[in-house]
């Protein structure tokens, strides 16, 4: 086996030195009846060339060479090549969590830089070293709000990513022992409704807020791509002593969309910052917050300090919040997070920088705005057209989106995500995302296909 650095004679000699007759002596504590005396039924050992060939074949069975308009929490953006070159340095790739600060300063300083950039982007005062992803970050942020307020109820918007809402429900059910064990997780019951503009219905929010509300959890831009009115939401929530948690699934929006400064906690997915789509993970969640909530923050934090000679250095700090110290009294059970992915985001933000992030965000805004206009001219209806949006929009068509997408696939175009599964009330609706990777030519050829809807089907609903 090519990863094992020992010759047969070395193994024999080492056994001799230990005083063992055979390797099986070392496994004698495993009762005989449970010892495996045959080969595992897994594929036979393969050489590197065969492994690469296997994955090439599988890769070829996935979509390649398609124009795509998919978004919905996983965003297509260009990834500068220096990111992969740098994160594949063994010192980043193959190091452990930086508990031994003296020989982990590289990772620690990079985390400190990441935390700073996240604070700048989100308008928050503190940020942690990362969470698993945007969905679990949202659930952990809700739990954080419960701890801070001592209240139990979380009001979540119906326009929070449906899969984030499912994760939130799974986490929330664990708070009390008598909650429903199973089922009902696709239920919309309890979610805060949206108004005619696709924004949170503020009147409904006001009605639902009371002294039991721990927090209002909204996504902005929301699942429909619409930017929420965070100052107005915060004013209502704070009046009732509730916190505001803002979930951001598209971090790049912060290049051109005002940050949610009135929020108390921000739970973000940073995948857009140079992280591959990779069929849904690994991505990079992060929680940022007002400084006064520091002690309730889950996850790791890097902090600046000095050594005995007064030199600047960084350490993991405030570990008394964490599971390895506090055990069952910890703020979360999180241990391993997404450090290498956070490093990718840090490098991405450094490559684009202050000007580039804005320029990139404006390109996304421009292309999405243009595509929405072109598709609408071709007969599709853009829903929530009056509301501010970033780079996603909901289209309603006469033709069911699944059927339309089949037509588009023939031309190697992956259309918008059909929404009927989660929002049947919207009819034939689909969610479209247009990024800097979509060219004007792609938008035009897709526009033509809207026009080519089969005979008898009026595109406009």
């Amino acid at each position: 086996m090519r990863y094992l650095p020992k010759s047969p004679s070395e193994r024999r000699e080492m056994l001799q030195e230990i005083g063992a007759q055979s390797i099986d002596d070392l496994f004698s504590t495993i009762p005989g009846e449970y010892r495996l005396n045959h080969d595992l039924e897994v594929p036979p050992q393969r050489g590197e060339q065969e492994i690469v060939e296997y994955f090439r074949q599988e890769a070829a069975r996935n979509a390649t060479g398609y124009t795509s308009f998919l978004g919905a929490g996983a965003y297509r953006h260009y990834r500068p090549v220096v990111i992969d070159a740098l994160v594949q340095r063994g010192e980043f790739l193959t190091s452990y969590t930086p508990y031994q600060a003296e020989i982990s300063q590289g990772t620690l300083q990079a985390i400190f830089e990441f935390q700073t950039m996240i604070c700048e982007l989100t308008g928050m005062e503190i940020a942690n070293a990362s969470m698993y992803d945007g969905s679990t970050a949202a659930a952990e942020a809700a739990a954080m709000a419960r701890r801070i307020t001592g209240r139990r109820r979380v009001l979540a918007a119906a326009t929070l990513h449906p899969e984030y809402r499912e994760v939130l429900a799974t986490y929330a059910r664990q708070q009390g022992h008598d909650g429903p064990a199973t089922g009902a997780h696709s239920s919309e019951a309890g979610a805060l409704p949206y108004d005619a503009n696709g924004r949170l219905d503020l009147a409904a929010l006001e009605q639902r807020l009371d002294e039991r509300t721990a927090c209002v959890l909204v996504q902005s831009p929301n699942f429909f791509g619409v930017v929420e009115d965070i100052p107005a939401i915060a004013e209502l929530a704070h009046k009732h002593g509730a916190l505001v948690v803002v979930s951001i699934a598209e971090a790049l929006s912060l290049g051109v969309v005002r940050p949610p400064r009135e929020a108390d906690v921000v739970a973000m997915e940073a995948q857009s910052f140079g992280v591959a789509l990779s069929y849904g993970g690994p991505y990079c969640g992060v929680i940022a917050a007002k400084e006064k909530y520091l002690r309730q923050m889950p996850g790791r934090l890097a902090g600046q300090t000095r050594d005995a000679e007064g030199r600047r250095g960084f350490v993991l700090t405030l570990a008394t919040r964490e599971q390895h110290i506090r055990r069952e009294k910890a703020t979360s059970n999180i241990c391993t997070n997404q450090a290498l992915v956070a490093l990718m985001a840090t490098i991405f933000l450094t490559v684009y920088g202050r000007q580039g992030i804005r320029e990139l965000a404006v390109q996304n805004l421009s292309k999405a705005h243009y595509a929405a206009r072109r598709f609408s001219e071709a007969g599709a209806e853009v829903l929530f057209a009056g509301a501010p949006r970033f780079h996603e929009f909901v289209l309603r068509t006469a033709e069911p989106p699944e059927q339309m997408n089949e037509r588009l696939l023939e031309k190697k175009i992956i259309g918008g995500l059909p929404l009927g599964r989660w929002y049947p009330e919207l009819g034939n609706a689909s969610l479209w995302c247009v990024t800097e990777l979509n060219t004007a030519a792609e938008i035009e050829s897709t526009t033509r296909l809207f026009r080519d809807a089969p005979e008898g089907i009026l595109t406009r609903a």
Partner: protein, 519 residues
Amino acid sequence: MATEDTGEEAAIPFEGKRRKVSSHPSQNEALIFEKSSPGKRAYRLPPLDVPEADPSALLGTSARQDPGMLPELSEIEIVRHFTRLSTWNYSIDLGMYPLGSCTMKYNPRVNEFVSRLEGIAEAHPYQPESLSQGALGILHLLERCLLEITGMDAITLQPAAGAHGEFTGILLARAYHQAQGDPRHKILIPDSAHGTNPATAALCGYEVENLRSNSLGMVDLAELEHLVTGDTAALMLTNPSTIGVFESEIHKIADILHAKGALLYMDGANMNALVGKTRPGDFGVDVMHLNLHKTFSTPHGGGGPGSGPVAAKKILEPFLPTPVVVEGPRGEDGRPTLRLDYDRPRSIGRVRAFYGNFGMFVRALAYILANGPDGLRQTTEDAVLNANYIRSKLEDLYELPYKTPTLHEVVFSDRRQAQKGVRTGDIAKRLIDYGFHPYTTSFPIIVPGALMIEPTESESREELDLFIDAMRQIAREAQENPELVLTAPHSTRVSRLDEVAAARKPLLRYMPPDGAATT
């Protein structure tokens, strides 16, 4: 420290000879923000091929003028910045990383290569299933391999890390009990357990009950029998335990639990001691998690990403998170069409968006394919051989609190060195000067002053001998020159950092001297 004045020439206190390392300058590097100057750039976007939108017109009051104090540098400066930072880290690629319980093994480069193939790296989680057969095929094959390795019946790959897997596994147990109309309130956890175990049980709303270990560091069967009641949902057990000992009476443990309707949860952190030699599903485990970033070679990346699949027995299958991969009719190529099944009415729900850390599945599967059944078994045997080799070469100098035969790791205590005031953390820091990453210190808590050493299979005899030599020299330094050990490390860019000050007055982000930060 003072040397006695014997009238003869004062003896120079012993200082060991470092064989693995020589000193070498490392580059200084400021924070990225301190290197930034306005107008520099490392990107160039293609020209915008549609009319440029006016953000203020489209977004109104939601428009942002300035994205904040992000750095502005050229590409060469960025490459140097992160390369310089990288050289301040220790890594497996540099040498042995004997962190007990963490299984720091070699991370094969082919894993990285295949995870970056275009059809894999660029696969969108919502692309049609007909265009995702490769991704689903990878998920499905990995699931089948892990089921075979664990001897379990059903699996979910969705959890993003070990602790997330624990959370998922305990929710499965909870859903099972509730479905029986028998909600239970207690989880038993041995005092030798990882901190994540009690944190998870508490997160899932359970009362944590502590189970004391016996004099061999194993589960005390009498105590277990006494504590398990009709209100016990599960025992969370690490096997082999955190002192590296296989619970020989595992079947009795399972029987005691099952007789009272409780489940046996296994923390799979130490699976590197078992793969190909024995299977948890065969010895009575009902539900367990695996750490792909430990046992299956996916890189730790300085603290993640991980991946924590959960495998379970048939009785827990209805409760698995949605979606699950299922086989449909065979396609033109003779392979079954795979699809994602969301219609699981008894499921605990989702624990994460999408399907889990897919990129880690690709790497873990590449590792399994590179090994095959014989390689997996040999890997386990080498890991156990290495740990026992270290044990036999150090047990004369370091106290071995539990003499029970161990598998993949060995836990010493600092009792002898502590007589000179040298504690496990000091010895660990001194190891850095010898060119090694420290072992795990002060864990498990059942061993006061623990030195927890797990070499993994990835170390050659030569590297092990260097480690043993370093540990032996440090033992002598602790006796003859304790001050040297107490003030280690002496060879790093920074010496011991003031963690108390860091926690007392937390500084968690860079603040520019002119106060120009946006917040």
